[in-house]
């Protein structure tokens, strides 16, 4: 199956600092999604990006889709302890199945 790489794999930040995770694909993507998985929980959908260069915001979260539609980023401004978890990007395969990126685990130090 297809897979996208995410960097970094782990990130530890002080509460209040910003955080960014990047998702990179070798092929052009039709769309990309972002999910958050809290420790011990299941992935929860955050957003879908479809258009080249698209930028969407959800409160302190900013999502961006690259112009070439081969990469995407999630930026969190002023992290809080509630942001702790693993963030995954995901793409749709040809059979409409979802393939998940390698994930970035975020730890927020109070």
């Amino acid at each position: 199956g297809q897979q996208v790489m995410q960097i970094p794999q782990y990130q530890h930040v002080q509460e209040g600092e910003d955080f960014t995770t990047y998702c990179n694909s070798s092929t052009t993507l039709s769309n990309i999604q972002w999910y958050k998985q809290r420790p011990g929980g299941h992935p929860v959908f955050l957003i879908q990006l479809v258009k080249s260069g698209e930028v969407k915001k959800q409160k302190r979260l900013t999502f961006q889709f690259g112009e070439a539609k081969k990469n995407s980023s999630l930026h969190i401004t002023a992290t809080q302890t509630t942001d702790v978890g693993t963030y995954f990007c995901a793409l749709r395969g040809p059979g409409n199945q979802f393939y998940f990126g390698t994930g970035t685990s975020l730890t927020v130090i109070p």
Partner: protein, 113 residues
């Protein structure tokens, strides 16, 4: 949104035995997916289950090891057969909702001893 009930939530099984995981959705859905998530890892798609047809397995997964049933549009099962400790993982069912996002069950935490 869809509500997905998955059971059991966890189990400890002897090697060589089989475990069947059930996934019930509160709405009719065309596609259901089964994932495996090993500790600290990402989600790996095992197979896609459509009602009325054979499941489609991803590379590295075979029907003899992970038989799947999809008897109707709201229910699916995944069986982990002839288990070994390497099968210890979290297994998650998921549905494609509104052609946009994936909804997940709570997962089944399997330990094989």
């Amino acid at each position: 949104s869809a509500v997905i009930s998955q059971k059991p939530s966890r189990d400890i099984c002897q090697r060589g035995t089989s475990l069947t995981i059930q996934c019930q959705v509160d709405s009719q859905v065309t596609m259901m997916f089964w994932y495996r998530q090993q500790p600290g890892q990402s989600l790996t798609l095992i197979a896609t289950a459509n009602q009325g047809s054979e499941a489609t397995y991803e590379s590295g997964f075979v029907i003899d090891k992970f038989p799947i049933s999809r008897p109707n549009l709201t229910f699916s099962t995944l069986t982990v057969s002839n288990m070994s400790p390497e099968d210890s993982s979290i297994y998650l069912c998921s549905v494609d909702w509104g052609a946009t996002e994936a909804f997940f069950g709570q997962g089944t935490r399997l330990t094989v001893v």
